[in-house]
């Protein structure tokens, strides 16, 4: 078996698995019940999916200088994904886009209630 075949085989496996991660995101978006569990499906499999696709791309290009670009592309994805997931999740929690019956525990609710009660006691009406 020559190295060309091995590289082709590895990139093929990576590309198919990477595409599978996109499929996972799509299935998750359709099947999961509320905003936050959908966020898990929509954002997270792409960390791995993009990694696999970029690696396959790098293997196929056969030039070393594409690797830094691919690395930068992946790192920027790593930096931005959690921020957007957090912002959407936070906004979703505050606007009550969740199903309390599907939560086995909610340790944030008590804190929010407490803060709201304190604000009422201080005579502050929101703004």
């Amino acid at each position: 078996m020559n190295p060309e075949t091995v590289i082709d085989a590895v990139s093929a496996v990576f590309m198919v698995t990477g595409a599978l991660m996109s499929l996972a995101a799509a299935i998750g978006l359709l099947r999961f019940p509320d905003l936050m569990s959908r966020m898990h499906a929509a954002t997270k499999p792409q960390v791995l999916g993009l990694f696999l696709l970029l690696t396959a791309l790098g293997l196929q290009m056969r030039t070393w200088w594409v690797w830094p670009v691919l690395l930068v592309a992946w790192l920027f994805q790593l930096l931005t994904v959690p921020v957007s997931a957090h912002m959407v999740g936070r906004a979703g929690y505050r606007t009550k886009h969740l199903h309390p019956e599907l939560l086995s525990a909610d340790e944030l609710e008590a804190v929010v209630q407490q803060a709201a009660a304190k604000r009422r006691a201080d005579g502050d009406t929101g703004r």
Binding site: L23, R31, M36, H40, L48, S104, A105, D106, V111
Partner: protein, 181 residues
């Protein structure tokens, strides 16, 4: 504008990163391009001033490499778990929001821990309480108190790993004492 004076040593990681991005985008690591990139990096850092990130002053590469490998392994395992949950459990999946108090109060460590946790599928930072450095994490497929305890332990272990890589000396010695006890 009130500017805190930044020493070159503190600014160096940022400059190196900017030069790297510049050269990666041009796909050209020749000395001329490196020099020009460095010039632009200094200019950008001067003109678009941001408050300096307060680092702990140390970075342990020997700890960082296994941490990165374990992180990738966790991402792979958790990605397939989310795929399985989406297909098999779907609308009946049960989640939880778990409060995890962290050891460290430094912004960089809380941010890094939150980032790593968010990147691993199955957990999502919903809210951060900076004053007590508590992360509120939405975990998928957390069905009972046992799962919640496991998630909490995972997060605290991740933080411990990050402290070993870039925490301050005080945090590191507190951690060694804790694990010895």
């Amino acid at each position: 504008m009130n500017r805190k004076k930044v020493s070159l040593r503190q600014e160096l990681p940022l400059l190196v990163w900017l030069v790297f991005v510049w050269c990666a985008l041009w796909q050209n690591f020749s000395p001329g391009n490196l020099l020009f990139g460095a010039l632009i990096a200094v200019l950008v850092a001067r003109v678009f001033y941001l408050p300096p990130v307060e680092l702990g002053g140390r970075f342990n590469v020997l700890r960082a490499v296994p941490f990165a490998i374990i992180f990738l392994g966790k991402v792979v395992a958790a990605s397939f778990q989310v795929l399985y949950l989406a297909v098999a459990r779907g609308p009946r999946v049960v989640s939880a929001i778990v409060a995890v108090p962290l050891r460290s109060h430094s912004d960089i460590l809380v941010t890094a821990t939150g980032h790593v946790i968010s990147l691993i599928p199955g957990s999502l930072v919903v809210e951060v309480d900076r004053s007590t450095s508590t992360l509120y994490i939405h975990g998928i497929n957390v069905r009972n108190a046992e799962d919640a305890a496991k998630l909490r332990k995972d997060v605290r272990d991740t933080e411990a790993g990050l402290i070993r890589i870039l925490g301050t000396k005080e945090e590191l010695s507190a951690l060694t004492q804790e694990s010895a006890a």
